[in-house]
Symmetry: C2
Subunit: 256 residues, 2 copies
C-alpha cells in the first residue's frame, strides 16, 4: 500500500468516511489497464457535493472496482454560479471549449443554436466527458452541468429573468467588459450567464431581441475580432478575475 494518490475520479455516489464505493466499467478500465493499479492503491474521489476523499482499492475485476473511503482530503466549497451559453462549433473546438470552461469554473454549459450557427447537432455526452476529464485533471471539486441544446428564441423564453445575462456583442456596441463586471449587479459574483455568439455573429434580429430583453447586458471584448471559442474563455476569465472567485486568495493547497 502506498500513500501516493494515483489519480482523481468524479463519481455520482455519496462520499462519507468508511463507505464503500463501486466504479463502473470505464473508470475500472482506466484504473486497471491504463494506470495498472490493483488492491491497496489509492485514488481521490469527488462528487461535487461531499468534497474530495482518499479511497483505497479493495478489489478490481472485470468491469468493477470496489474502494473504501479513508479520509476527506478537501472539503467541498461553494463555487461561482456562472453559466456559459455558447453557439456550438466544430468538434475539436467544442471539446476545447468544454475543457477550458471547466478549468475556468463555469457551473453550467448550455449550447444554443442561433441563426448563423453552422453546427446542427451537439453530442452532450461528449461535452460531459470533456468537462469531467478536465475537472478530474485540474483539481476542480465539481463538474459543470451540461444542459440540452436549445434554439435561440426558446432559450431566451426559458431564461430565468432574475439572472443577468452578459452578451459578448461582436459588433463592438457593448460596454467594455471589465467596467460592467466591476459594477452592480455583477460585482461580487452575483449568479449570472455569459452568452457567446457563433463565428458569423448574431443575426440582426437576434441582436434586436437581445437588446430588448431586460436581463441582457451587452459587453465588448476589445478592438480585435475573436473566434467564438476564444471569446468564451476570455469572457469567463474576466468574469472570474473581476467578479468571481479569483478575487479571493486560493483557499487550500493544490499540490495534487
Amino acid at each position: 500500500m502506498s500513500d501516493k494518490i494515483e489519480t482523481r475520479l468524479f463519481v455520482s455516489t455519496d462520499l462519507a468516511a468508511g463507505a464503500t464505493v463501486g466504479l463502473e466499467t470505464g473508470q475500472t478500465h482506466y484504473l486497471k489497464h491504463v494506470l495498472r493499479l490493483g488492491p491497496g492503491a489509492r485514488v481521490a474521489l469527488f462528487n461535487g457535493r461531499d468534497g474530495e476523499w482518499i479511497a483505497e482499492i479493495d478489489g478490481i475485476g472485470k468491469g468493477w472496482t470496489s474502494l473504501t473511503l479513508k479520509a476527506q482530503r478537501r472539503p467541498q466549497r461553494a463555487e461561482p454560479d456562472i453559466w456559459l451559453v455558447f453557439a456550438p462549433i466544430k468538434r475539436a473546438r467544442i471539446d476545447f471549449t468544454a475543457q477550458k470552461a471547466t478549468e475556468l469554473g463555469a457551473s453550467v454549459l448550455w449550447p444554443v443554436f442561433t441563426e448563423r450557427t453552422m453546427v446542427e447537432r451537439v453530442n452532450t455526452d461528449r461535452l460531459l466527458a470533456n468537462a469531467t476529464e478536465a475537472a478530474e485533471q485540474t483539481a476542480r471539486l465539481s463538474v459543470p452541468e451540461i444542459r440540452d441544446p436549445m434554439r435561440f428564441e426558446a432559450l431566451l423564453e426559458a431564461w430565468p429573468t432574475e439572472r443577468p445575462l452578459i452578451v459578448c456583442d461582436e459588433t463592438g456596441a457593448g460596454t467594455p467588459i471589465a467596467h460592467v463586471l466591476s459594477e452592480p449587479p455583477f460585482k461580487g459574483g452575483t449568479p449570472c450567464g455569459l452568452l457567446i455568439g457563433p463565428e458569423g455573429g448574431f443575426a440582426d434580429r437576434e441582436l434586436d431581441r437581445l437588446r430588448q430583453s431586460s436581463f441582457v447586458t451587452p459587453v465588448s471584448l476589445g478592438p480585435r475580432l475573436l473566434r467564438s471559442d476564444t471569446a468564451a474563455l476570455a469572457a469567463l476569465a474576466c468574469w472570474q478575475a473581476v467578479a468571481g472567485d479569483w478575487t479571493m486568495e486560493r483557499p487550500d493547497g493544490l499540490d495534487l
Copy 2:
C-alpha cells in the same frame, strides 16, 4: 472585377497608394489553388506598420502574384505592448497558444525553458505561422514578434528591468490578478510581460529567483488549477480587459 475582399494576408513590404506588391510562393499557392482567385480579385494586405490596404491582383503565375494597392481600408493604430513569456508545451497546445495569444493581442511570444518544461525544442517558424494565420483570420493589424527561446536564468538576465513582469504563480501565493492590474504600474496598459510556468509548475529555486527580482509581480489566477495554456490565455484576457485596450470602445468597423 468584384468589390468583395476575398481574404486578408500579412506581408512584409511597405504599403502605400499605387504601389505594386509581389507575393511569394506560399501565399500565391493559397490565392491560386485554395481560393482560386485570378486577375481582378481583391484581397486585403497588412504589414503591422501601414494599416490595411485593398489590393487588386494584376497577375498570378507559378509561384508569384503581382498586386496593385488601391486604397487604405483601415489605418494602423497603436496596439498594446504586452509580451507573453511561456514554457513551451506539446504541439497541438502550443499551436493553440500562439493562435489565441495573437487574437488576444500579445505583442511578443517568447518561449522559456524552465526546469520542469517537458518540451526540449520549439519550432519558431511554426509559432510564427500560427500567429500569422490567426492575425489574418481575426482582423488584427499586426503579427506578434516571435522571440528565440531562452533558458529561464538567461531570460531573467536578459529581461529589461524597467518592464514589469507579471508571474502567474500556481502556488496561489500571488495577489488576485484583477487587483494588481487595476493599480499602478499596470493600470492604463503600461508595457509589461506575462510569465506562465510549465504544467508541473516552477521549481522552488525558480520561484525564489522570481521573488527576488525587482521587476516581478506574482499574481494568482484563482482557486482552481489551470493548465498552462489556459493560464496564458486567461491572464492575457484579464490584462486586456483591466489594463489594456479592451477598456476602450472598439474604434472601427469589423465586418470583414
